[in-house]
């Protein structure tokens, strides 16, 4: 076998701390190596051409590239060797950047390590076999999880492109966090005026099936053919019959139900429609507060409903959907600000969150857009905004910046002045982060045109004084202490991963970071893809994002799905298990351990043998380590291939002589 080795300088990224020329030279002495060289940028066009040339010139059967992580450029170089007529699996990579040059400064040690990694790759390549993918059909339907603005955008883009979309939303209406906002920055556009039409489009689109009040259960299958079970939670109302007339909500005697939509500012009725523009505009009963469901008596809604839609005995229902791709747009939740004891920890009624304030500002909110204090209903004269509550704070394990709080605080300060011209707003901030189009201008307007007083510093404590609150903090620019007597304090709470995000990630088999935000495939180059083929991300589930960024990601994810579905068939990964019929004893252990049910029993001339279902096998290799006979082997990661790497690394120092 003739192997070619290409050691990449990666500019100075590798060459800076690894003697690449020496690695290339020593690699020439490795078994099977027929050609070896070092190149400046192997992934560049001339670098790739050099590989193609060398394969043709030296008649190479396989190529080893020692450069960056295979998670980055393995697909690139596989295409390169394919261009030169080799099978794409006759290629191995040695990761001498992330695993060598970037983590050590000792050039000698690094060079030794790089050579070791190259010799392991060469040893494995000598055991590699030609693999050919087979093809399978795609189910061109897409599941969108989450009906916030990112999910709505993704669903509409897919549906407009002719794809069938299944949109699953946990709450009883789509719209997400954006539906709760009064206005949006930096244009002071009415939030529901720009989101509302999109929500209606979702409801009316012939290609979109909307499941509200529903959650995704088990997910099985693989790219092109996922099977998803969806639980439609009981709403105690037959939504096919409900017209959303609202008579039930007017008559419902249980008026103390938690108002989730209004962020618990005030209460609502046990049977309710969250807000006038809700999609679907259907009533649902909160079983915790319904008198009929808790005490067995009442039944007022059933009596007044003109379409007899009330079903007190409704149960959760399960539906199965088959899709080919999944877009995850599950958004974020607000940081639990009651963890800040110095801000009252939830004990002061007039210290509220920014989203609660948004509901107070909104014309469709509990006060009809008239800003009043939750404690006594008085109009506040002095409003203090405190930024970075649960952002950039290691003490509460939220060291990241939530990104949009600076902007919405400026917006709320402007709106406060609009609503109450006599009022005065103060903003305590750490830094102003306004790096978007028209964003910095917007925060300046809040200061200069609207007279908002910005104080750079943290707030140390808030305490009540009469019917006011004293906000005591520091002004780090003046180096003084400040005290502001406020009628209302608004905390700019940061974003954190949605509750249940890790559990969903486990079902989808995607990764998440230590805060619960989903991991993209590559932070810069593959921002909406995950490492699980066919699963894409949109919006704040990947990290805090404002509306424009969420919409952009929704569209990006949709275009990725369109791209995936532009073919009728997909190539399956040939790195799957294969059974050696002669070795298989039909014990069935592989069938028991396979997490995907990809192995079945087969009759072979009267004997029971294992058989791998090609399209179902995901290539984990659990069966290979289970098989007592070594009969089932994961292609490209066979026992022999991995042991070849081990042997390249560890050889017995003493040759045993038993003469």
């Amino acid at each position: 076998m003739k192997i070619g080795v290409f050691v990449c300088h990666c500019g100075s990224n590798i060459a800076g701390t690894v003697d690449v020329a020496s690695v290339a030279e020593q690699a020439r002495n490795l078994p099977n190596v027929a050609f070896s060289t070092d190149t400046m940028y192997t992934c560049s066009e001339p670098g790739q051409d050099e590989i193609v040339q060398a394969i043709k010139e030296h008649g190479l059967d396989g190529v080893v590239v020692a450069s960056c992580t295979p998670r980055m450029h393995e697909p690139t170089f596989r295409k390169t060797v394919e261009r030169a007529g080799l099978n794409r699996y006759m290629f191995e990579m040695a990761n001498i950047r992330e695993h060598v040059s970037w983590i050590g400064k000792d050039k000698e040690a690094n060079t030794r390590k790089a050579l070791d990694l190259v010799s392991m790759a060469v040893a494995k390549l000598a055991n590699d076999r030609v693999l050919t993918p087979s093809k399978f059909d795609i189910n061109k339907r897409v599941l969108v999880i989450g009906g916030g603005v990112a999910g709505i955008q993704a669903a509409l883009d897919c549906a407009d492109g002719g794809l069938e979309v299944v949109l699953v939303e946990k709450t009883s209406t789509i719209g997400g966090k954006m539906a709760k906002l009064d206005k949006t920055f930096p244009t002071i556009d009415c939030s529901s005026c720009i989101l509302g039409p999109k929500m209606v489009d979702v409801a009316q689109h012939p290609n979109i099936t909307l499941y509200a009040c529903s959650e995704v259960g088990d997910i099985s299958g693989y790219v092109g053919n996922f099977n998803v079970s969806i639980t439609k939670k009981a709403t105690y109302v037959d939504w096919d019959a409900c017209t959303g007339c609202g008579q039930c909500t007017e008559k419902c005697p249980s008026k103390k139900a938690t108002d989730h939509f209004n962020e618990e500012i005030g209460t609502t009725t046990a049977i309710n429609i969250p807000f006038p523009q809700a999609i679907p505009k259907k009533a649902s009963i909160d079983p915790e507060f319904c008198i009929k469901l808790t005490k067995g008596k009442c039944g007022v809604c059933e009596k007044v409903c003109p379409t007899q839609a009330i079903r007190y005995d409704q149960q959760d229902e399960k539906v199965e959907e088959a899709v080919g791709a999944i877009i995850v747009a599950t958004g974020y939740d607000l940081f639990d600000w009651t963890r800040y004891g110095e801000y009252g920890g939830g004990r002061y009624p007039d210290v509220i969150t920014s989203l609660q304030y948004e509901r107070l500002l909104s014309a469709s909110g509990p006060t009809g857009g008239h800003v009043t204090r939750p404690s006594d209903g008085k109009e506040p004269e002095t409003v203090v905004f405190i930024q970075c509550v649960g952002s950039r704070d290691k003490s509460v394990d939220r060291p990241y910046c939530s990104g949009f709080c600076c902007m919405y605080t400026a917006k709320q300060a402007i709106l406060t002045k609009d609503h109450m011209p006599e009022s005065q707003s103060y903003v305590f901030y750490m830094d102003i982060r306004a790096p978007g189009k028209m964003y910095d201008e917007f925060t300046r307007r809040a200061m200069e045109e609207y007279g908002t007083k910005y104080i750079r510093g943290r707030v140390a404590m808030i305490y009540p004084k009469g019917d006011k609150y004293v906000v005591r903090g520091s002004d780090t620019l003046l180096g003084t202490q400040v005290e502001v007597e406020a009628d209302l304090v608004v905390l700019a709470v940061g974003a954190e991963a949605a509750k249940g995000a890790p559990q969903l990630a486990e079902k989808l088999r995607i990764s998440y970071d230590s805060y619960g935000f989903y991991m993209e495939s590559h932070i810069k180059l593959r921002p909406v893809e995950t490492n699980t083929a066919g699963v894409y991300l949109a919006g704040s589930c990947q990290g805090p994002k404002d509306i424009p960024a969420s919409v952009a990601q929704g569209s990006a994810a949709a275009s990725k799905v369109q791209n995936l579905f532009s073919r009728d068939q997909l190539e399956s990964d040939p790195q799957i298990s294969q059974v050696d019929i002669k070795r298989c004893i039909g014990c069935g252990k592989c069938i028991q351990t396979c997490p995907f049910g990809a192995i079945e029993e087969m009759d072979f001339r009267g004997a029971t043998k294992a058989h791998v279902i090609e399209t179902v096998c995901q290539g984990c290799g659990i069966c290979t380590s289970t098989c007592p006979q070594g009969a089932i082997q994961l292609q490209h990661f066979t026992d022999n291939q991995i042991l070849a790497e081990v042997n390249a690394l560890c050889q017995p120092t003493t040759i045993l002589n038993y003469e």
Binding site: H99, R509, S625, L649, T654
Partner: protein
């Protein structure tokens, strides 16, 4: 073998492609400096790791073996790391029976985002192996001893 036995020991790592291998990449991207003793072999899942690989490494002269996979419940293949945990725990208890110091083998869970944790794992394990020193190698005197033992038993 090109390891310099004065400063470096031979440590073999078996890492799951989806989590720990990515975590090691993340550590690299973050330029988290680590000892250079470890050489990493990439496998698709910690469940793919046959205890034989670990044994073969240790028998053939590795001074330490480190296995790392996805956190339990967070397996890319839903349950591969549970199989791994069971097998590797078994292996750990079996090593002393073979006359191998079980402290030379360790397994851990590191996700793709945990670059800092990976650095700590590598540092701690490498220090630990250096404390144990190079693994005893079969040399002429040991062989003679074995032969003598063999003779006495035969007699």
């Amino acid at each position: 073998m090109s390891a310099d036995n004065n400063t470096e020991l031979r440590i073999v790592g078996f890492l799951c492609n989806w989590c720990s291998y990515g975590g090691a990449d993340t550590a690299g991207v973050g330029r988290f400096q680590q000892p250079t003793d470890l050489r990493i072999i990439r496998v698709p899942c910690s469940g793919r790791i046959d205890p034989l690989f670990v044994l073969k490494s240790l028998v053939n002269g590795a001074d330490g073996v480190l296995v790392s996979g996805c956190h339990p419940r967070d397996c890319h293949y839903s349950e591969g790391n549970f199989y791994a945990r069971r097998r590797l725990e078994m292996l750990k208890r079996f090593l002393p029976i073979l006359g191998i110091d079980e402290r030379r083998f360790e397994y851990t869970w590191v996700s793709a985002s945990e670059g800092q944790k990976w650095k700590t794992v590598v540092q701690t394990f490498t220090e630990h192996i250096h404390e144990l020193g190079p693994a005893p190698k079969l040399d002429a005197s040991l062989l003679k001893k074995a032969e003598a033992l063999n003779l006495t038993q035969a007699a």
